[in-house]
């Protein structure tokens, strides 16, 4: 006699079967169409004026570069260039692959398109100001066209960072000059490139659709269509993912554990290369006293701070450059908390107690970090007032008069492939702009300039280590973490994400 089917088992099967069928439908559909969350709608697809990574990722899918990053890596490989070689410190010769065409009857991709795409970064835009990303091509003097498919980049000065900050990155996107010159074309959204995708549809604030470019010369991308859907709220994104309306979304660190337990989708953890630190305005008394700054550093338990802020999902940072980056300093000091030594330093400085304001971006992770810092510094006699600010207020707080009044702050800069990008913000020239520490180090500036010109990789790395040593000696920086990027991906989706975590390589997304 067969065992009767238990009611519970029947109910479970009744729930599981439709879910399994639904999942199968989702996976079967996903070769044709992939829906990806973006945190806001696109605003401007001009590579020279792009507002952020959302636009950058689309540009990367629409265009080719002379060289591009390998899948999921900051290693470079040829893309539109059949050959490309730096013949001397200020000359880069290139020859394009033959047969590359732009969609929509805009002809072949030629050296003239390369010239147009790169030189425009130095030209004033319609508003009369230089483009936002002009600095990426600051070293470029001009592009010399030597043939239909050949040319030469002539630099004003050597620039080791040019390859990764410009050529391989979004600023190196090659667009059609004929399309750009077409009357009536919207310069901000009408980008035409020879990349694996074309912009098939854009419904503002609703979706942007990338469709496979039938004229693309190269390995076709896995997905026929990628739909980018703006979803601002992280919780809505997770709900949308669980409902099957999204197949890829980034999530916050403090959602990770809940989602891991729920076994919803596949979690992808990517250590980032951003830099989060506690900064000290060393021009403002009493923080101009190095003993006070050292006391602050010794008064904080960095591991405790990042555990509170990121729920144990990140590693401690030792210096500005993250592991794996050129110039990473593995031996950077990582002092443990020592409240007795901190109090002694404050006493030596004649400050048994003091009060300061900690300015921070008003996000959960930073609020949690700030509260732990506030509690620990309170134990050594430093009373902190927390000042959480929204984005616009926060990013203005280091400039002008407010920058002079700034005391302590939680800083967070995004990293890019080349170490020159993130280290530039601490130059003396950035005081009053982005060097909120107001750290004035001519030695640092000299090392930075040398590193940017240095062609030898090992020597360059040594220079960046030396720069970080100077930062450490200043006492104005307490490195906290390089953060992490966590993505929730459906089923067999294998997204291609560059090591900084923000840059997605849509054409390199795969299944399985």
């Amino acid at each position: 006699m067969p065992e009767p089917i238990a009611r519970r088992a029947l109910l479970q099967a009744g729930v599981a079967l439709p879910f399994a069928a639904w999942t199968g439908v989702v996976l079967a559909q996903s070769r044709e169409r992939l829906v990806v969350r973006i945190e806001r709608d696109i605003q401007n697809l001009d590579p020279a004026e792009r507002p952020g990574a959302v636009e950058g990722n689309v540009i990367r899918a629409l265009c080719r570069n002379l060289v591009a990053f390998r899948r999921g890596s900051f290693e470079i490989e040829n893309d539109a260039a059949r050959t490309i070689r730096q013949t001397d410190p200020t000359t880069i010769d290139f020859a394009l692959e033959p047969g590359l065409v732009f969609p929509g009857d805009f002809g072949r991709l030629t050296a003239e398109d390369v010239k147009f795409s790169y030189e425009r970064f130095q030209l004033p835009g319609p508003t009369g100001r230089k483009p936002a990303y002009a600095e990426d091509w600051a070293a470029l003097d001009h592009v010399e066209v030597t043939g239909e498919l050949t040319g030469r980049l002539i630099l004003k000065r050597p620039s080791a960072g040019l390859w990764k900050n410009a050529l391989a990155d979004v600023s190196g996107a090659i667009q059609s000059r004929l399309a750009a010159a077409k009357p009536g074309r919207n310069a901000d959204i009408g980008l035409v490139g020879a990349g694996p995708y074309v912009l098939a549809e854009w419904l503002p604030n609703r979706r942007l659709v990338l469709r496979r470019n039938p004229e693309f010369r190269g390995e076709a991308p896995a997905f026929e269509e990628i739909v980018l859907r703006p979803v601002a709220d992280p919780t809505t994104a997770i709900l949308g993912f669980e409902a099957g309306e999204l197949q890829l979304t980034r999530i916050e660190a403090n959602d990770r554990h809940a989602l891991a337990e729920a076994k919803a989708g596949k979690l992808i953890d990517l250590p980032s290369i951003n830099f989060v630190w506690l900064g000290i305005n060393m021009a403002k008394p009493p923080l101009d006293d190095p003993r006070v700054r050292r006391a602050i550093r010794l008064g904080i338990d960095v591991d405790e701070v990042i555990t509170a802020a990121y729920d144990g999902t990140v590693e401690r940072a030792r210096a500005v450059l993250a592991p794996g980056m050129l110039g990473y300093w593995p031996d950077a000091p990582a002092p443990a908390r020592d409240p007795a030594a901190a109090r002694a330093l404050l006493a030596e400085a004649g400050r048994t107690s003091l009060r300061a304001t900690l300015t921070l971006l008003d996000k959960p992770a930073y609020r949690n970090a700030a509260e732990v810092i506030q509690a620990r510094l309170g134990e050594i006699g430093i009373a902190l007032d927390l000042l959480p600010l929204d984005d616009a207020s926060y990013w203005s707080s280091g400039a002008g008069a407010s920058g002079q009044a700034l005391e302590l702050f939680l800083g967070r800069f995004g990293g890019k492939a080349d170490p020159g990008f993130i280290t530039q913000w601490f130059l003396p020239s950035q005081i009053g702009s982005w060097n909120w520490q107001r750290w004035n180090s001519p030695d640092y500036a000299e090392l930075y300039a040398r590193a940017d010109r240095e062609g030898d990789v090992e020597k360059r790395a040594a220079l960046y280590v030396e720069m970080q040593r100077l930062m450490d000696q200043s006492g104005a920086f307490v490195p906290l973490t390089h953060e992490t990027n966590i993505y929730l991906a459906a089923g067999q989706l294998d997204p291609a994400i560059l090591p900084n975590g923000d840059d997605l390589q849509y054409p390199d997304f795969r299944l399985g």
């Binding site: 605003q43 419904l203 503002p204 949308g240």
Partner: protein
Amino acid sequence: MRLGVVASRLAATLAVLVAAMALLFALTLAIPGDPAAAMLGPRATPEATASITRQMGLDQPVPIRLWRFAGLLATGDFGTDIVSGRPIRDMVFEVLPFTLALAGTAIGLALALGFPAGIHAATHPGRISDRLLALVSVAFVAVPNFVVAIGLLLVFSLRLRWLPVQGAGETDDLLDQVRHLALPALAIGLGWIGYIARLVRASLLEVLGQPYIRTARAFGIGGFRLTWKLALRNAAIPTLAALGVGFGRLLGGAVFAEIIFARPGLGTLIFQAIRARNYPVVQAGVFVTVLLFVATNLVVDALFLWLDPRLRAEAERL
């Protein structure tokens, strides 16, 4: 209806509009944060900052800025967005229908469900149904909208899979748009259903106690005619007044529904523009919102005059 009545209402409307925009202008003077830093981040060089400041007219004296601001609003030309290069008018009017649909549907739900509930409660006072309706109405009003929104999502989208989580639906598919509208409209309209039900009950009970109603009953008029034709016309006036104000609050409250349900809309546009200190977009969005609000109240005022001849006569006398 005399032209003078219309003219006086229009003048009052214009005064409200001017006052609201003056307040907005004053707020933009006081708000901290630099637009260039918000828009460009680390790429906000001093040159870029100066350029954006110039483009937004922030380097001009306040009276000139106010004059330019008033001129833009009066002509309806809100200028060009600095970030996207698109006409701001286009940005506002392409999202406006979504907000109107959301607020309109929420109001429609409130009327469609709140009115009958209130009428039933008023015509059956003290009964079990009246008490139940009271409990439910107060619960609807008391529960915060965002809690309702998340609850609806969990039940109808995740558990039952009846309705979508996010988006506004396909442009050429009305049914799909309705499916995408259901939960957000219910989320912001649920409180209003309860509020309208209580309001209608209270005002209808008061009217049903009036001498003319007792007289009508004495003459044998009852049921549908008594309630709907004689009593409700007067009882509806306070409810209409509440709806007029409520529509404005719904327009403002729609922003949270637009964010939670990832819908395009005026609320989201203004919210994101505020975060980016994109003042021209904020000003355009708020101007359109205020315009809608005063236009709605103008319509409500006209309805009052139509419903109540006493108000009409008083207005004409003035």
